[in-house]
Symmetry: C2
Subunit: 360 residues, 2 copies
C-alpha cells in the first residue's frame, strides 16, 4: 500500500463548547481518513483563547501567527468568554488569523439538512439550499476609529468602514465564479447604498462591473434590510449571495436559524490562492451557557471539517462526511437538544461516525 | 357642538405605491376623525420625490424643510425610483427630514395581527408582539467619508459611522422609559462590539450606564447576527429592542417579515420633545414592481396613520383604527395579494373603514 498523504492541521479548540465540539470533529475526521486510506491527519493542538488571556494577558503568544503559518489548515472551535470583553478576545485571535492569512472569503452554506425541521412554515430541504460568500478581511470590521471628548457630554465616537478595490473585486470574482458553477447560476448582492453613501455605492459599482464579465450569471441586489426579510419569505430564491463582512455575518446567522439551528452551520475562511492556511470553524460561538454540559451540537464543527476535507483535495471524503451527518439526523433520528432531541455531543458524534459506513 | 380641533398634516405621497397607499390612509383617517368628532384634519399635499427630481434636479424645493416646519405632523408614503440612485433620493428627502426635525426615535412595532399568518411555523399573535426602538439620526448612516485613488487599482473608500453621547443617551433613555411601561419590562440591545471596536463598545457602555438607572427593567444584549437569528427562533422573548440606525433598520424589516408581510409594518419617526413635526411612514418602500397596479397593501400606511393619531393626542382613535385593521383582516378575511388574498388596495381600505363601526 502506498503511504498515505499526511495533512498537518493546527487545532485551536478556543473557549466554551469549542472544547467539546472540536474533539468530536477530530474523531469524525480520523474515521473518514481511516475509511478513505489515501490520507491521514497530524493534529497539533494550540491551547489559545480566553483562558490563555486570563493567564498571560494575550489571546495567543506573540509569535502565534508564525506558529500557524506552516500548517495545511486550521480547525478552530469558538472564541469568547464572559470575563473577557469580546472585542479583546476576537481582535486577539480570530480576526488576526483571518486577516494575516488573507482568508478573504468566508464561505457559508445555508442548507436545511434532511431530518432537521426549519422554523419556517412549510419549508423543506428543497427550499433552503444556498451559499453565502462573505467578505472576511475588511469593511465594517475595522479597528480604525477613535473617541473625542471622552467622558464628557460632548463625547463623539467614530468608526471607519474601509473598502478597497482590491478587496471588493476579489470577493466579487470569487462569488461570480462560484455562482457560475451553482445550479441556480444566480448571484444576489447585499447592499445598503440608500443609507450608507460612500462604501455601499462603491460595492454596487464593482458588482455591476463584474456582472458585465459574467453574462451567464443572473444577478440581483437587495438592501440588507429587505434581504434579511427575504431570507424568511423567499429562501428558495437564492443561489449564491455575496455580502460585506458585517452583512455576510448577519445573513449567515439568520441563514443558520432558518436552516434549523445555529449549532449546525459550518464555515470556511478561505485563502483561495493557498499562500496561507485556510481556517474552518462553525458559525456558532462559545455558548458559555451550555459549555461543560456535554450537550453542544457537534454538527457545525464536523461539517466545517467536511469543508476542510474538500479544501485539502478530498471532495469525495467531504461529501461522505456530510452524508453521514444527514444520515445520523434523518435515518437514525439522533438529535441534540437544540434540534429538539436529547442526544449528547458524544452520542451525536458516534451516530455520525457509525453512519459513515452506510453512505456512499 | 364645540368646534373640532384641527390638525394640520403635511402629506408627501413620494414615489411608486406611495401614491396608492397614502390616499388610502387619508380616507381612513378622515373616517376615524368623523366618528370621533373632537378633531379633524387639514391635509396639505406636497408632490415631492423622484418625479420632482427628474424635473428639477432636486427631491424637494430648496426651502422644503421650511415649508414643513410648521405642521403638526408629516405623513409620508415611500421614496425611491429605479431611475434615481437611492442615495440621491434618500439623502434628498427622507433622511434630511428625519435629521433636521430631530426625529431621533424610529418606533416600529413588530406585531402579528389576528388574521395574518406568520411565516414562522406554529407562531401566533401571542408569540410576536414587541417594539423596536431604532436610533434614527446618526450612526452608520452618514454622509461623511470619501474616496482615495478613485478609478485606480488602489482605490480606497472610507465611510464614517459616528455615534455621539447625546445621540446614544437620548435613544437609550427613550427605550428604557418605553420598556418600563411595556408588559414584559425587558429591554434588549443590539450590538456588534466583538467586530466593531469603537462605536459598538461605546453603545454597550451607555446601555450599561442607563440600565443602572432603571433597575426595574430587565436587560440583555445580543450581537446583531445572533439577534437576527433569535427573531426567527425566539420571537416571544422580546419586549422592547433598541438598536442603532442600521441595526434597527435590519431588525425591523426582518420583524415585518416574521409578522407576515413587509406591507403591514408601520413606523413613527418621533421628535419626542415636540419641537418639530414627527413623521409617520410605513416600513415598506416604493415597490416599483407593483406600483400602479392597485394591489399594494395599504395596512402599513394606515397603521402609521394610527400611530400619528396617538402622537396627536388621540390614543383611543388610534387604537380604534388598529382594531379596524385587525377586524378587516381577521373577521372579514379581506387580504391583499402579499397576504395571500386577492383584494385590491381600494377593497382593503373600504373593509377597514367599514370595520371602524364594529370595533370599540
Ligand atoms: C429607504 C431607507 C434609507 C430607509 C432606511 O434604511 O432608513 C428605509 O429602509 C427605512 O427603514 O425607513
Ligand atoms: C465572533 C465574531 C467576531 C464573528 C464575526 O462576526 O465575524 C462571528 O460572529 C462569526 O460570524 O464568525
Amino acid at each position: 500500500m502506498a503511504s498515505a498523504q499526511v495533512h498537518r492541521i493546527a487545532v485551536i479548540p478556543g473557549d466554551g463548547i469549542g472544547h467539546e465540539v472540536v474533539p468530536a470533529a477530530l474523531e469524525a475526521l480520523e474515521a473518514v481518513a481511516a475509511l478513505d486510506g489515501s490520507f491521514r491527519f497530524a493534529f497539533d493542538r494550540f491551547p489559545w483563547g480566553c483562558d490563555h488571556y486570563l493567564e498571560t494577558g494575550r489571546m495567543m503568544p506573540p509569535d502565534g501567527l508564525e506558529q500557524l503559518r506552516g500548517y495545511d489548515a486550521i480547525l478552530l472551535g469558538a472564541v469568547g468568554h464572559p470575563s473577557v470583553p469580546d472585542h479583546v478576545s476576537l481582535w486577539g485571535l480570530l480576526l488576526p488569523i483571518r486577516r494575516t492569512f488573507e482568508q478573504y472569503v468566508n464561505l457559508r452554506p445555508v442548507k436545511l439538512l434532511r431530518g432537521v425541521t426549519s422554523p419556517l412554515r412549510g419549508r423543506g430541504p428543497d427550499d433552503i439550499d444556498f451559499v453565502v460568500v462573505r467578505e472576511n478581511n475588511e469593511g465594517e470590521y475595522s479597528n480604525a476609529g477613535g473617541r473625542l471628548f471622552a467622558g464628557t457630554p460632548h463625547e463623539i465616537v467614530v468608526q471607519e468602514s474601509i473598502f478597497t478595490r482590491r478587496g471588493v473585486e476579489r470577493i466579487m470574482r470569487f462569488a461570480f465564479e462560484l455562482a457560475r458553477r451553482h445550479p441556480k447560476r444566480r448571484l444576489t448582492s447585499a447592499t445598503k447604498s440608500n443609507g450608507i453613501s460612500y462604501t455601499m455605492p462603491f460595492w454596487d459599482e464593482v458588482f455591476r462591473e463584474m456582472a458585465a464579465r459574467y453574462p451567464d450569471v443572473a444577478t440581483d441586489q437587495f438592501h440588507i434590510d429587505a434581504l434579511a426579510a427575504r431570507f424568511v419569505t423567499h429562501p428558495h430564491h437564492f443561489g449564491v449571495v455575496v455580502g460585506s463582512n458585517l452583512f455576510g455575518d448577519i445573513l449567515t446567522d439568520l441563514g443558520a436559524a432558518i436552516a434549523g439551528s445555529i449549532g449546525i452551520a459550518p464555515s470556511a475562511n478561505l485563502n483561495p490562492e493557498r499562500q496561507y492556511p485556510s481556517m474552518f470553524e462553525p458559525i456558532h460561538g462559545s455558548a458559555p451557557d451550555i459549555a461543560g454540559k456535554g450537550i453542544a451540537n457537534p454538527v457545525g464543527q464536523i461539517w466545517s471539517g467536511a469543508m476542510m476535507l474538500e479544501h485539502l483535495g478530498h471532495p469525495r471524503a467531504g461529501r461522505r462526511l456530510l452524508a453521514a451527518i444527514e444520515h445520523a439526523l434523518a435515518e437514525r433520528g439522533v438529535k441534540t437538544p437544540d434540534l429538539g432531541g436529547s442526544a449528547t455531543t458524544r452520542e451525536m458524534t458516534q451516530a455520525i461516525v457509525r453512519s459513515l459506513d452506510e453512505v456512499p
